[in-house]
C-alpha cells in the first residue's frame, strides 16, 4: 500500500489552501453511536449543516423518535424533545403551535412513522401542520434487531421474515410518502437518499427548501430519505449502498413527489 500522507498541513499548504468543508458546529462533540456507514449519521450531519447555513440553530426544535435515532438529541446541538414511539409528529404539532416562530421538525424511522405511528403521521399531515417530517426509510427495524417493517421489500429477508416477505402474510411495502402527498395540507413531498455525494447535495437542497417553506407557512413538508441499515441487512456499508440502489430505488424512486405551487 502507498505510504500515508502526513495529516499536518505544510507551511506552503497553510498559505495556499483554505478550508472548504469541516464538521458543522451544530453537531455536538459526542460521537455517533450508529453502526459504520449508517445513513442516520449522514442525515444528522446534513440536517445540521443546513441549520448552520441558514443560521437558525437557536430557532430550531427537533423531535427525536424511538428507534436507532432515539439519541438524536445527543448529537444535534439544538433544542430537542423525545417522543413516545411513533408520536413524534404529534409532539411536533404541539411544539409548533405553542412556539410558532420556531422551525420544528420530527425525525423518524419507518417503524416509528409507518407502523406504530401511522395514525399520528397521517393526521398531522392531513391537518397540514406547518412542520417538517424527516422520514428515514431503511426498510427494517434497525434498533430492535432487524425485524420486518411495513416498508420491507417483497422477498426481503429479515429476522421476522426469514424466508422473505410475502404479500400473502404481510401485504405490500407501504408507499406512505405517496399516500401523504395526496393530502391537501401537505406542501412539499420529496424522496431523497444519501448513498453518493450528489445524493447528499440533493438532500441538502431538500432540507433547505423544507425550512424555507415552513418560514412561508406553506404547510407540512415531508422528506423521505431512502437509507441503509448495514447491520440489519447483514452487509458491509459498501454492499448495503449498492443493494439500496439496485433494490430500494425501483420501489422507492428518488425525486420530488409534490412541490408548492
Amino acid at each position: 500500500m502507498s505510504p500515508e500522507i502526513t495529516q499536518d498541513l505544510t507551511a506552503e499548504e497553510q498559505e495556499q489552501l483554505e478550508c472548504v468543508y469541516a464538521k458543522p458546529e451544530t453537531l455536538t462533540e459526542t460521537r455517533f453511536h450508529y453502526c459504520p456507514g449508517c445513513g442516520h449519521s449522514v442525515v444528522h450531519r446534513v440536517l445540521m449543516e443546513v441549520v448552520e447555513e441558514l443560521d437558525i440553530q437557536d430557532k430550531t426544535i427537533g423531535i427525536a423518535p424511538v428507534g436507532c435515532s432515539v439519541f438524536a438529541y445527543h448529537y444535534m446541538n439544538i433544542d430537542m424533545q423525545g417522543a413516545a414511539h411513533g408520536r413524534a409528529s404529534a409532539v411536533a404539532t404541539a411544539v409548533k403551535r405553542l412556539l410558532p416562530d420556531r422551525y420544528v421538525f420530527a425525525y423518524q424511522g419507518d417503524g416509528d412513522l409507518a407502523a406504530i405511528g401511522t395514525a399520528e403521521t397521517i393526521h398531522t399531515c392531513n391537518r397540514g401542520e406547518n412542520i417538517m417530517i424527516v422520514f428515514i426509510n431503511n426498510a427494517i427495524y434497525g434498533m430492535t434487531g432487524g425485524q420486518m417493517a411495513p416498508t420491507t421489500l417483497l422477498g426481503m429477508k429479515t429476522s421476522t421474515s426469514p424466508t422473505g416477505r410475502t404479500v400473502e402474510t404481510a401485504g405490500f411495502p407501504i408507499m406512505i410518502t405517496n399516500m401523504i402527498a395526496m393530502l391537501p395540507g401537505v406542501a412539499y413531498v420529496t424522496r431523497q437518499s444519501v448513498e453518493t455525494p450528489n445524493a447528499v447535495r440533493q438532500l441538502k437542497k431538500a432540507f433547505t427548501k423544507g425550512f424555507q417553506y415552513q418560514k412561508e407557512h406553506k404547510g407540512t413538508c415531508f422528506i423521505e430519505v431512502v437509507s441503509n441499515c448495514p447491520s440489519g441487512w447483514k452487509m458491509t456499508p459498501l454492499q448495503a449502498n449498492k443493494w439500496l440502489v439496485e433494490n430500494m430505488f425501483p420501489v422507492y424512486p428518488p425525486g420530488d413527489i409534490k412541490v408548492p405551487a
Binding site: M1, S2, P3, E4, I5, Q7, L9, T10, E12, E13, Q16, L17, E18, C19, V20, Y21, A22, K23, P24, L27, R31, F32, Y34, C35, P36, G37, C38, G39, H40, S41, V42, R45, V194, E195, T196, P197, V200, R201, T236, P237, L238, N241
Partner: protein, 96 residues
Amino acid sequence: MAKGKVTFDIETCKGCELCIEACPQLSLALSSKINAQGYHYAVLIKDNCTGCVNCALVCPDAVITVYRQKKKSKTPVARITNVTQNITVTIDDERK
C-alpha cells in the same frame, strides 16, 4: 503541491470505506493501523487530492476536513479612467 488536501479525525473514523468509494482521484485508503475504537481508519495515500469534498459529503461520522487551493484573487491589477484618446495597455501578470 496538490490542489487539495483532506485531514481525518482518526479516532472518530469507523472504517466504513464510503469515502474511499466516493473519491474520484482514488486518493484514499484504509490504514493498516487501527484506532482506539478498533477500526482501520481512512487515510490520504496520494498527493493528487483536488479538494472536491466528495469524501466529506458521504462520510457518516463527519471525520473529514477538506482544504482546497484558494481562488485566485479577483482584485484588478490596474484601473483605467478618464480615457479621451486611444491607448495601449500591456499587463504583466506574474500570478500565472
